[in-house]
């Protein structure tokens, strides 16, 4: 088994890197699109309890549908490939970012906002200098959750021809080559773990001011 794994890397190193890169880029694109949707939406709705609940529930409902089902539903609309995969993964990534953005802005300490207003900050100044930086750690925690979920679920994207490490798993399954399953599965696990650790250290850096 170990020999087969070593052999795979010797013969197909280039292909492997291509799949790894495909996996990472699908994940990055999906999370980026989710950020572009979830952050402005969260900031737009957080002041209103009703609007927040509607936005959270709406995306929460979409998230209940299994990603594989979303992928298959999207095939007749978008065909196969990267576009439906990114769409399905974005749907998965929006809720944690959206919910955390709403909670982060709702939980801003009132005395900070009063200090900002009282000193004569304009709305823009208080948003960019005070609100956004103070909300960011909690938003970032949501982004971390989204990244991990997307990396794991991007495996399914291979199923509809978007590439990525899932290719190895699906090929391994159809040919019953366990070495490919181990390489594919192990790589996805390792990628999630690395991304998680990387984001944790970024989180520690951006919240260093909280530690006395």
């Amino acid at each position: 088994m170990l020999e087969e794994i070593v052999e795979y890397f010797q013969k197909n190193g280039g292909e492997y890197l291509g799949l790894l890169w495909g996996h990472i880029s699908i994940s990055v694109i999906s999370v980026t699109v989710a950020l572009i949707i979830a952050v402005p939406l969260g900031i737009l709705v957080y002041r209103s309890k009703v609007a927040s609940v509607i936005a959270e529930r709406g995306f929460g409902l979409l998230r209940i549908v299994p990603s594989l089902a979303v992928l298959i539903i999207l095939i007749p609309i978008m065909g196969t490939g990267v576009l439906p995969s990114v769409t399905a993964l974005t749907i998965l990534a929006v809720p944690p970012i959206l919910i955390n953005t709403i909670q982060a802005f709702r939980g801003l300490p009132p005395e900070m906002l009063e200090a900002a207003d009282g000193m004569g900050m304009s709305r823009m100044q208080s948003f960019f200098k005070v609100k956004l930086p103070l909300a960011f750690p909690l938003m970032f925690a949501g982004i971390r959750t989204a990244v991990i979920e997307v990396i794991a679920s991007a495996t399914l994207a291979s199923y509809i021809g978007a590439g990525g490490l899932g290719d190895l798993i699906f090929t391994g399954l159809s040919l019953l080559r366990y070495s490919l399953l181990i390489i594919g599965g192990g790589s996805v696990a390792l990628l999630s773990l690395t991304a998680g650790l990387l984001l944790d250290s970024v989180y520690k850096h951006i919240t260093r001011y909280q530690r006395a």
Binding site: P109, E114, A115, D117, M119, G120, Q125, L134, Y209, Q210
Partner: protein
Amino acid sequence: MTAVEFKNVRKQFKNSAYPALDDVSFGVEEGEFVTILGSSGCGKTTMIKMINRLYEPDSGEIFLFGKNIRDENAVMLRRKIGYVIQQIGLFPHMTIAANIATIPKILKWDKKRIDAETDRMLRLVQLEPEEFKKRYPAQLSGGQQQRIGLARALIADPRVLLLDEPFGAIDAINREILQNELKAIHQKSKRTYLFVTHDIREALKLGTKVIIMNEGKILQYAPPEEIIDAPANEFVANLLKTAELKGSAQA
């Protein structure tokens, strides 16, 4: 010159039995240190938050150096008024230097001037610039944090400084020290201070004049000696008695 003037100001909050401010009129001369004393809910905080337009009156007018504050943009008005609150409200993600430089940055001072003034402010509040500038608020004690709060409010040399129970959450020893320092800073600057407190000893010790409030009305507005010698009514007299019971006949 009259620094702050209230003319028939009224403010009633919803779900409140009596107005927070009930037809209040008074004036504060430039250079005075006015302490505003009352129990919680008496309207004292409402009063100073109207001066920097965090609250707007239901009726009546407020003048700052003769100009109706309603004629000016609220944000521009606030940049000219210093503001210190009990919860301090330092920005935790900014260093001490960045916190103190908040208003100068808004006013777009050049960097050299900001640096020099930040150092000067830190010394004014008895903190060594080199030791504190690069720290974050979480690394400071409550008393040190409020010194920064003061430095932040004073750096643009506002003609009026509003202080809302600034020492209310600080331990007794540090409170005493901070009171003395604030008094000294005021005497040097000759700016106008309005200081809200519910501590009668603090009010009598710091104020060149004291406003005593209850249920949205001013009961007495006089220098501290006059309040002690001639309390305007029974409420004020009782208030003085409670302070003496705690063993502070001096003030």
